[in-house]
Amino acid sequence: MASLARFYDGETALVHDVSVRTTANELVIFRLADAGILARWPIGELAMLGDIQHEVTPPIVRKGSEARLVVDDPELRRQLASLVPQLAPLAGTRTPPARRIAAFGATFAALVGLFWLAVDYGTEYAAPLLPYSLQVKLGESVFDELTADKAECHGEGGVKALNDLANRLAKAADYPHEIAVHVMEGGPVNAFTLPGGILVFYFDLIDQAKDGAQVAGVMAHEIGHVVHYHPMKGLVRQYGIELLVKLVSGGYSDLLSTLASGGNVLLALRNGRAFERDADATGVALLEKLEIRADGIASFFEQMMAKEPKDSAAVAGIWSSHPPTAERIDATRRPSSGKPPFSDAEWKAVRNVCR
């Protein structure tokens, strides 16, 4: 037979089978076996621990005491609930879970979708709003990290010519901040952009460029990244998706984060390819706006392709951070008409920036 109620005295681990009576202002707890009174609790000091949704039988306590009264009998619970206002929730019953699971589940799924959209599209608008000084600080610290073991070139006229062109291009895109171009010694044949308008050229790229138009093409492409705040957007998006995965797993499992980081990398690469296409298009548009010859991007890619006929970006497919080079050449091909990007003296200085 089920007991009516149990009383734990809070001092020892004894269990008493009890029942209760209420007087005008007291709850009297007495042993079932011999009607011995175990406790008299003033009604005003009664409280219930927990609730009926989480606890099967929420314990009744007297405030400040460690003793507990657990009422097993539903009828006795109902009586207490009707007599003592604080204990009213004791009479409640659990609602069947199906409808609440559906409601919470649907809300959860909708929130995941919203969060995803917010991260995927919201960064488009939110990233540029980050305080610019913060972006610069971030960019500078990454620059220090990446270039710690390389020497920077300071050939005066060259650095100035590159910075002038970069800032003209940025201004043409109504970009409100100063661009800083750094040239590092050696290779690879590459250039990249960091948050805060920091452009880094490796000298091998300048060295292998056929003419100023090619360097200007690469420069315009990088400015395309800058004016679209691509570095910042990439970062924000990556952290956003990571956070989403953490939240969806209930904050319980690192295992899932590991699993999801694979997907996250693919996503970042997909974003990367979209960024590159954007930067190519913007770069060409900026050169044309300044009436500078805009054939540099395509001709530079063609030169690269001639050297290394196997298109590594096309080969890498979904694992590539850049679109296939042939596709980029087709998209950026322009006539060689227009003003030269550098004067002869400037181009000479650029060629000698590391010497």
């Binding site: 809070g10 681990a13 989480h54 953490k246 295992l255």
Partner: protein
């Protein structure tokens, strides 16, 4: 004398001669019983989905309260000798613990910044930056701190757990446990895992013997020597199983590729991975399943066999006063606990967590046997209230389940 006849008491009816003997002599009362778990998966999911929803809305800050609610549900649906457990932790305690751990890490970061400024600023190693120092040092301190956090987290949970109105607790130093665990794990790694029984027993002992129910300490009477024989057997069987599994797998792949007459040029091979068609994806999935089947047929049962043995040993060498514990958990059940639960979590992308917790408590309720009942009158409420905040380090450095 406590004598509760209740709905949940699952005492086996004592046979008549045994009852007569117990009356005649002063033998201990060893009436067997099992815990009872009567939680419902649907109700658990209501609590869990609500928790996930709030997690998204609060960007994760509600997790302390969500965890607390889940524990309250699980604890109170678990009963021993007819008396339900009670979890009385509070979300704010977990949050304060988390913030304190966060401050600790921030302090450490500051310290590393000073080290970097004053020691490494001249850049003896060209590419060694502040970030590297911080990551490296956190990895170094994080390993022992995870153990410390484990122990401290256990202490917190026990101190918030009540049974028959009496608080549980965990004595002993979390730092000493962390140091011992770090040392033992390191020693085990450099001896090719041959110290595993020593590690298992010596890490279980402090956790068991420091556990208190009120004033009643738990007792552990095991030693690594008892289980070494079985471990050595497992150790070498494991090596053989790895070799066999690898052999089977590569023969199978070689055979399949050979018999189908498939051969790839380099280009086709690259295309296969970079432009995966549906067929390739299915093929890769089939291969992964094949690998999993071979692996799980040979390696994992062996591991579960050892884990089940170790678990049976640890449980049956523990007691609390005159309550003895025993379990007959089988290799198959251990597989369900270790492997199946893992798969459930991964394949459901985390949504299977409540199911895993539910399964685990059902397993405990089915396989844990208690002999006897505690002497209620002699067990007192502890004066110590336990730690004020909980689980910060655990949250920071380790995956913490419920």
């Amino acid at each position: 004398m406590t004598n509760t006849t209740s709905l949940w008491g699952q005492a086996a009816a004592p046979s008549k001669p045994a009852a007569a003997m117990a009356a005649a002599t002063t033998e201990p009362d060893l009436t067997p019983s099992r815990p009872l778990y009567d939680g419902k998966l649907g109700e658990l999911y209501v609590i869990y989905l609500r928790h996930l929803m709030l997690m998204l809305l609060t960007l994760g800050w509600s997790r302390f309260w969500g965890r607390t609610r889940i524990r309250r549900y699980l604890w109170n649906h678990f009963a021993i000798l007819g008396d339900r457990f009670e979890y009385r932790g509070r979300g704010i305690e977990l949050m304060v613990g988390f913030v304190l751990a966060l401050l600790l890490i921030a302090g450490w970061g500051g310290l590393m910044y000073l080290v970097w400024i004053y020691v490494f600023h001249e850049r003896p190693f060209a590419s060694f930056g502040l970030f590297d120092i911080f990551t490296l040092s956190v990895a170094l301190i994080g390993f022992p701190l995870a153990y410390v956090g484990h122990y401290a987290g256990l202490r917190y949970r026990l101190s918030r757990t009540r049974w028959r109105g009496i608080r549980c607790g965990l004595a002993g130093s979390a730092w000493r446990y962390g140091a011992a665990a770090t040392f033992l794990t390191f020693a085990n790694a450099i001896t090719f895992q041959l110290l595993t029984p020593v590690v298992s027993v010596n890490l279980a002992r402090p956790r068991i013997t420091n556990t208190r129910f009120g004033s009643l300490p738990f007792i552990f009477a095991g030693g690594a020597g008892d289980i070494y024989g079985r471990y050595i057997g497992y150790y070498f069987l494991n090596i053989i199983a790895w070799l066999v599994a690898a052999g089977i797998f590569f023969t199978a792949i070689g055979g399949a590729v050979g018999s189908l007459g498939i051969s790839f040029t380099e280009e086709e091979f690259q295309k296969l991975f970079t432009r995966p068609s549906l067929r390739t994806i299915l093929l890769v999935a089939a291969l992964a399943i094949g690998l999993y089947v071979v692996f799980s047929l040979l390696i994992l049962p062996l591991r579960c066999w050892w884990q089940a043995y170790l678990f049976r040993y640890l449980v049956s060498h523990s007691r609390a006063g005159n309550v003895l514990f025993a379990t007959a958990i089988s290799t198959r059940q251990m597989w369900g606990f270790l492997v199946l639960n893992y798969l459930i979590v991964v394949l459901t992308l985390g949504l299977g967590w409540p199911w895993v917790m539910h399964r685990t408590l059902r397993l405990i309720a089915a396989e844990l046997w208690l002999y006897g009942a505690p002497d209620g009158a002699s067990i007192r409420q502890p004066t110590d209230l336990g730690p004020r905040y909980g689980e910060g380090l655990l949250d920071m450095f380790d995956v913490s389940g419920v």
